[in-house]
């Protein structure tokens, strides 16, 4: 199958005098590099500029809340089991009376941590979740000098209660 029409047949025939002289080829090469010298760089200057991400980009995670603002996660551990990188750990707790507004199910995750250095952003956790509680987002887990900063707890994973702080993942759902 021919993919491009730029392919060349390779042969080991002797070089012609022109090719053996080497200099014409050097000059040809220099013309190519000079052309590129004046071309626009393909660089994205990262912190100031960012590339546009696809709607279903697999970036850092979010733990969703339901419409009333209660956390959806029930600490079933299926995400942790499905995670090939073993990046997720959690400690479950039982919901007390009066906490119905906070947690949707009777069991919830008191501690839920993802190690972003282990995570390979495969998205298997979001596929495994029966409660549609965890999703990957378009955001990038930011760089840091300390390893501790890459262990994300609920403080950074759970989205805010207010309407404005919710993270939209509808695009991922109707895949």
């Amino acid at each position: 199958m021919q993919l491009t029409n730029r392919s060349k047949v390779v042969s080991d025939k002797n070089m012609t005098a022109m090719e053996a002289a080497y200099l014409p080829a050097v000059i040809k090469g220099m013309a190519v590099t000079l052309k590129h010298f004046f071309m626009r760089p393909a660089t994205t200057k990262y912190p100031e500029q960012t590339r546009e991400f696809s709607e279903v980009y697999r970036g850092r995670h979010v733990l969703k809340r339901d419409e009333k603002g209660a956390e959806r996660c029930t600490a079933c551990g299926l995400c942790a089991v499905s995670c090939p990188a073993e990046a997720i750990t959690m400690v479950a707790a039982e919901r007390k009376k009066g906490e119905e507004g906070l947690y949707r199910e009777e069991k919830y995750a008191a501690i839920y941590e993802i190690n972003m250095l282990r995570c390979i952003f495969c998205g298997l956790c979001e596929e495994a979740c029966p409660k549609q509680a965890i999703f990957l987002t378009k955001e990038i887990a930011p760089a840091s000098y300390e390893r501790e900063d890459f262990i994300w707890g609920k403080d950074r994973l759970v989205e805010g209660v207010e309407e404005t702080k919710r993270i939209d993942i509808t695009k991922r759902q109707d895949r």
Partner: protein
């Protein structure tokens, strides 16, 4: 008078020294920028506007790197190696005529530190010494890669110095002098040697690439096979010295080429503009530096265009092509001089 003369020369020597170092420093920056542009990248742009402070940051980094001297190395030679490289690289700048003569307070001040009547020979001698820095450093490291790099460097130097010398002989037969100043003065206006010796210039520039260990002849460093070549074991500012020496050599070679073949500080129409002697000299200095920068750019341009030779190809090119061609060039030049009586 004698005191004043010494003062002039000292000042010129210091200025030349400072400019050499400054340009070598900024060559590292220019190299990275040129490489980046040729590869459609941006290059260093974080330290200061357009990354203009990058060389300072690099130097600072070199100073703060851990200094490692291998246990089994010959410590004295190990330390002195980069020093020799640097010293020989800097020594050549003495004979380069940076400009014509300035007239200040009734005195003529020649913008050249020393007008040796064997300037060309002097440069040659010092440049050949440069290989000792590499050789000693590579040998003292007590590492097989370093040693291989050093051996390659010395054999490469010897091979290419021959054809470089032969290319120059043709030029010297034409000019009839070994003094760089006189050679430059003979090329007054647009009467540049490159028009009479285009082939010699080609040979010379190829040999200059080999002498400076620049791509496509950077076999002594050859990251792909020799780790880092002769400076594999070096770290910290000693490594910095080796790299820096390479850039100084590049600068000096460019200056040398510009003055031997491209008229040095001469520029077209220098007489017909009706400028004073001083103005011409100052413009001349700028023109000279423009020429130098152009050659430095060519050095970089080539480096980021073509891959390096294989070692046997390098030797074959040196001995089977360059030397016979250089001899032929000498012969033809001699013939022409004989026939035209000039």
């Amino acid at each position: 008078m004698e005191m004043l003369f010494l003062l002039d020369k000292t000042v010129i020597a210091f200025v030349a020294f400072a400019i050499t170092l400054l340009i070598a420093t900024y060559s590292t920056y220019a190299e990275r920028k040129v490489a980046a542009f040729m590869q459609d990248r941006v290059g260093p742009d974080r330290a200061g506007p357009f990354g203009i402070l990058q060389p300072l940051a690099d130097a600072g980094k070199f100073f703060f790197k851990e200094e490692i001297i291998p246990n089994t190395s010959d410590k004295f030679l190990f330390i002195i190696g980069p020093g020799i490289s640097m010293l020989t690289a800097l020594m050549t700048s003495v004979v380069i005529p940076w400009g014509g003569t300035l007239q200040i307070a009734g005195r003529d001040i020649s913008l050249q530190v020393a007008d040796l009547n064997i300037g060309v020979l002097y440069v040659f001698a010092v440049v050949s010494l440069g290989v000792y820095g590499i050789m000693i450093g590579g040998w003292a490291s007590n590492n097989k890669y370093s040693l291989l790099g050093a051996v390659r460097a010395s054999s490469q130097m010897i091979s290419y110095e021959l054809s470089m010398g032969l290319a120059l002989i043709a030029l010297i037969m034409m000019t009839g002098t070994l003094s760089l100043k006189e050679i430059v003065d003979q090329q007054h206006g647009m009467n540049w040697n490159v028009f009479y010796q285009p082939f010699g210039f080609l040979l010379f520039i190829i040999c200059a690439f080999a002498e400076c260990n620049r791509t496509p002849f950077d076999l002594p460093e050859c990251e792909a096979e020799l780790v880092g070549g002769y400076h594999t074991e070096y770290s910290s500012m000693k490594l910095g010295f080796y790299m820096f020496a390479e850039y100084i050599n590049m600068f000096i070679s460019s200056a040398f080429m510009a003055s031997l073949y491209f008229g040095g500080y001469n520029f077209p129409f220098m007489d017909s503009l009706g400028l004073s002697q001083n103005a011409i000299t100052i413009i001349g200095v700028f023109v000279f530096f423009l020429k130098i920068f152009f050659f430095i750019f060519v050095f970089m341009w080539i480096r980021w265009t073509i891959p390096r030779f294989r070692y046997d190809q390098l030797m074959k090119l040196g001995w089977q092509w360059m030397i016979p061609l250089a001899l032929l060039n000498v012969f033809v030049t001699g013939l022409v001089i004989l026939l035209t009586g000039n």
